[in-house]
Assembly symmetry: C2
Amino acid sequence: MSLQQEILDLGCRARKAARGLASLSTEQKNSALLAMADEIMASKGAILSANEKDLARSQALPSAMIERLKLNMERVTAMADGIRHVAALADPVGEVIREWMRPNGIRISKVRVPIGVIGFIYESRPNVTSDAAGLCIKTGNAIILRGGSEAIYSNVAIVGALQQGGQKSGLPVGSILLIANTDREAIKHLAEMDRYVQLIIPRGGHALIESVVSAARMPVIKHSHGLCIVYVDREADLDMAVEIVINAKTQRPSVCNAVETVLVHAEVATPFLEKLAPRLAGKKVQLRADDSAFARLSSLRYAPLQRASEADWSTEFLDLILAVGVVDSAGKAIEHVERFGSHHSDCIVTANARTAEQFLREVDSATVYWNASTRFTDGGEFGFGAEIGISTDRLHARGPMALEELTSYKYVIRGAGQIRT
Amino acid sequence: MSLQQEILDLGCRARKAARGLASLSTEQKNSALLAMADEIMASKGAILSANEKDLARSQALPSAMIERLKLNMERVTAMADGIRHVAALADPVGEVIREWMRPNGIRISKVRVPIGVIGFIYESRPNVTSDAAGLCIKTGNAIILRGGSEAIYSNVAIVGALQQGGQKSGLPVGSILLIANTDREAIKHLAEMDRYVQLIIPRGGHALIESVVSAARMPVIKHSHGLCIVYVDREADLDMAVEIVINAKTQRPSVCNAVETVLVHAEVATPFLEKLAPRLAGKKVQLRADDSAFARLSSLRYAPLQRASEADWSTEFLDLILAVGVVDSAGKAIEHVERFGSHHSDCIVTANARTAEQFLREVDSATVYWNASTRFTDGGEFGFGAEIGISTDRLHARGPMALEELTSYKYVIRGAGQIRT
């Protein structure tokens, strides 16, 4: 069987499963989820030793990547707990989103339904495998998983456990499938298979997402990085601004909702940087400053400090590096955000409600903040109970993507013989 | 300038306009719409003579297509009235879809915003040009139009009038753009331009849609044909079923929500066909019947009658042709709909609520009907006030697509200095 035929076969099996999944009750789906969680725990030995094989092959990878790849008892237990948590969430499928009667007497109901088959392409962390499968089963979708080659043994073991748990509880065969072939071509075949797959979610770096976008025939919801910006206004509470910047930059620098650029209004730039600099220095943050900020930071003897290059304003450092610029007005800050930002999560710190509302209205980002850390862009922090990721697209789902965003809808019309005249 | 550069230039201009459009008030957008409608009326002479040029070039086209292409005073007036009607509808932009407070005190609002730049690709009817432009301006989106080559003179005249009306009322330049180059390559360039265009809506035949889907890098919402099916159950009110089938087949056979296949339960097939046959014969409907229906219709001496080929069950006749099959159960009917239908609009006629609910639940179509004609799948009939078309996709918009479906959303978060711990 060629690779393409192999992928087509997976698609066909997933499609069949999706039909069965769509008609399962909430109770049936929840009991499958609990069985999947149990089976993860029952297979912990096999999962951990598969993970060791992955780790043994991955010595050459950067330590941060190895850390993400590594499983232990605690992480395996967290995977099972994550699935149990999803089982406890409300089921969006079947929800009547809206219902109305037309003058001719037909009653129209807009009802939430599963999407169908979802292709999920991701990298590194093996716990994403079980998270994504749990969310898709909860919403009645079949899932075709394609993890990174570095985690292949772990993923095979995890999916094996999930499938076994699912089968014990009557989940349709084919509900959770893994592309075990780590060839890049497999992604292309998956992305071309719009006959069977209704949505592709790629979560990862630029090259991965580009390969999906250029090949895909079906809708793609990208989960890409973020270049998030905090603007400290002339009327900001500077202590609040410092706490927000420190939190957004240093609490977890490698994530998409961490801040990469701070802009400060010229009138408060000096006092703000005087307060911020020692705190950033304490966290060993490297600064890339524009001329105005550079002069101020130099006189504060901040180190390490460089002049920002043009490229720095467009760079997602995902590290303890921060670009700092001085602007003359909120309008200029908005211009900068629109020009250099990635429309993920951007923030204004100000005590002036009018300036804040202008920023909230004019900044065209998935999440815009007034006086809060950009780190809250997260399904859990939003109260969604879970997330499959953070969409950096505008259609169907934007920002944190959870159960509701994994559904579509249909219209159900009940009549008494009405015809159109 | 190469064709690709020309298209990129249009995209760049539309992108700039979109930012301005997003910050217009409802009043500003409505006054622009009214000015656009006025300018259509003021330009009626130029539009009609441009249309005559198109008609002169189109003598070789089928008469139905010429009929769709042809404008007259009444149709031009209807175009202007259509835009005025859209001006009178509620503006979805700015609507707070949902708002909630988190335990840490941040307030999250999910707010409706424009999508950005929409590429709209369509065929034949020149009034679609003004309809689509009106809906996009109302929702704060810039639009790049690409009509069929047969209507190019008409479209240039119509877009010219819309642009002039828009400019008189302060609409950003570039809000409404037309690709005047009728080369097929232009569609490819448009579909690759995800840097500037956030959504492509292709509305037309299979070849047009395929060329968009295979090239597109951004989301595509297809507006394709429908293969709609009516199932007449064992417990159907047969007179009601006859009215529904006649309406769904003959009221307007060329549209996507017309019925193409009728399935009838074996136990009522003879009495149903006895009632239906004379009515169909009166409308000169050709029948393509399976063996069981063929035997019954032959004994009724129905003509024109053929045995259905395998292909007939998958054919969107879009004409006065109907496939007729006999099934043993509602379950078999559902199987048939899932296998051969296009998931557009399907209907069960029955007096049994339980059978009806099974059909409504298990048939995975954008609109499923119980005891009503499939012809109601339409934005106007749904009460949406307008429609840009009927999505045959599952993501973002499914079924009739109107103002709300032309929007995205963003999250606005207001805090008091909250940081993530």
